[in-house]
Symmetry: C2
Subunit: 236 residues, 2 copies
DNA sequence: TAGTGGTCTAGACCACAAG
DNA sequence: TTGTGGTCTAGACCACTAT
């Protein structure tokens, strides 16, 4: 692990351990430089990482402060990998409805940037949170990247498998969503009345080298769908 | 403007001018160093900024590539300032339903971190996109930050006023949302049937020094609500 | 092996905030 | 005025990709 990543992790851990709250001040740069025995740039890099993650904010001339939102049970749309951390204390399980190798839809082929003739993995799951339906998920995986999947893998965290077992590095993702009414089939799976509100999401995941490997379409149970985003204003 | 910001802006402009697409390769670092006559760190800083904005991705040992999503008409949830840029070609207008100074609700006071006795600006608007209802927006502004508002300002972009006229620096925001059914009052304003699906968003905006100054509750017309997010995987 | 991006340093200097 | 974070440099060295 790189120095600045380790330092960032240490500082983050310290925030958790000391249960620091929004607005609490962290030590000054000089203190961190001494503590970790590294140059100013390395500390800055570590803090920039924490800032990107939405954990601190830096104020010139003043100090470094903790950024911590207070609401629990919201799904973070930035931490990519589905749920996990944001929902600690919440139990996520999956029921696998389909797992096979097939031709992608035109839409899937386009989003995965693969030839429509080329087979892909298809996975359809219903996901549950504390026993209640959370969402229906249909995923297409580029087979030349994700070469093998089985029922066991697909019942657990597919992303853990991809990064840990396959050693692939997940880089970034594009996420689109809109709101509408669910159809009869979706209503059945989500155990909701027909034409209930629904959140429809599409997400394309890329490796760090830019290659798309996963195109997913997710329909959320509106009763369980609470999301949050921490945005930074790089935009001016 | 700082060197690295200017360089980032120049590179971004060049991507637009040359109409580069997702995956297109940019010049190598050495070329940029020569072109702008700055050190490697400065170029790296500029490219990191563009990476945070979701405009490029960098691949070690390979190069720097353009990242560009293809779908148009989606509202970016990361570029903070409501709409504007993402919706070029789309006309956004506002109808002001209320503008006054009042005691905040308990909820607004909590989110703005002000005393419940302390008056705040309250603004309620309906926003239209190409003449169709887009959303209902109720906003509370911390009066000790946003000291003055009038009907003219509030009919246009409040954020432009805050940054340009008041000279305040908008830093980051926390955004929460869920999906449900709109009530009768909301249905009227959005010109939708009662109990239509709706997206309910709450957003807290902070200055760069961390002070919250705007708490907004927004109800979106589900027919006009298409959103996108470009996420990076800093999370591992 | 050569090319390319990433990390890290030490230090000079700048810009903003607080007292 | 002092403290604090931010920018920028020049250069050494490292890690990954492509060929």
């Amino acid at each position: 692990m790189l120095k600045y990543q380790q330092i960032a992790a240490d500082i983050e851990q310290e925030i958790v351990d000391k249960d620091l709250q929004q607005g609490d001040k962290l030590p000054v740069l000089d203190a961190f430089m001494a503590q970790f025995d590294v140059s100013k740039s390395t500390i800055t890099k570590a803090l920039d990482l924490l800032e990107k993650k939405g954990i601190v904010y830096q104020v010139r001339g003043s100090g470094i402060f903790v950024r911590r939102h207070k609401r629990r049970g919201y799904i973070s749309l930035l931490s990519n990998q589905g749920f996990k951390k944001e929902l600690d204390g919440f139990q996520i399980t999956s029921e696998v409805l389909a797992l096979d190798i097939r031709r992608p839809t035109a839409e899937a082929a386009r989003n995965l940037a693969v030839n429509p003739e080329e087979s892909v993995y298809y996975v359809k799951r219903v996901r549950y949170i504390n026993g209640q339906t959370l969402c229906i998920e249909e995923s297409y995986y580029n087979k030349s990247v994700v070469s093998y999947l089985n029922n066991e893998i697909v019942s657990e965290s597919i992303f853990n498998y991809i990064s840990d077992a396959l050693g692939l590095n997940i880089g970034f993702s594009d996420l689109y969503f809109n709101v509408g009414k669910i159809n009869k089939k979706e209503a059945e799976l989500l155990r909701l009345p027909d034409a209930s509100p629904g959140l429809f999401m599409e997400q394309i995941f890329h490796l760090t080298n830019g290659q798309p490997f996963d195109f997913s379409k997710i329909t959320y149970n509106y009763e369980q769908s609470q999301f949050f985003i921490q945005a930074n204003n790089y935009f001016l």
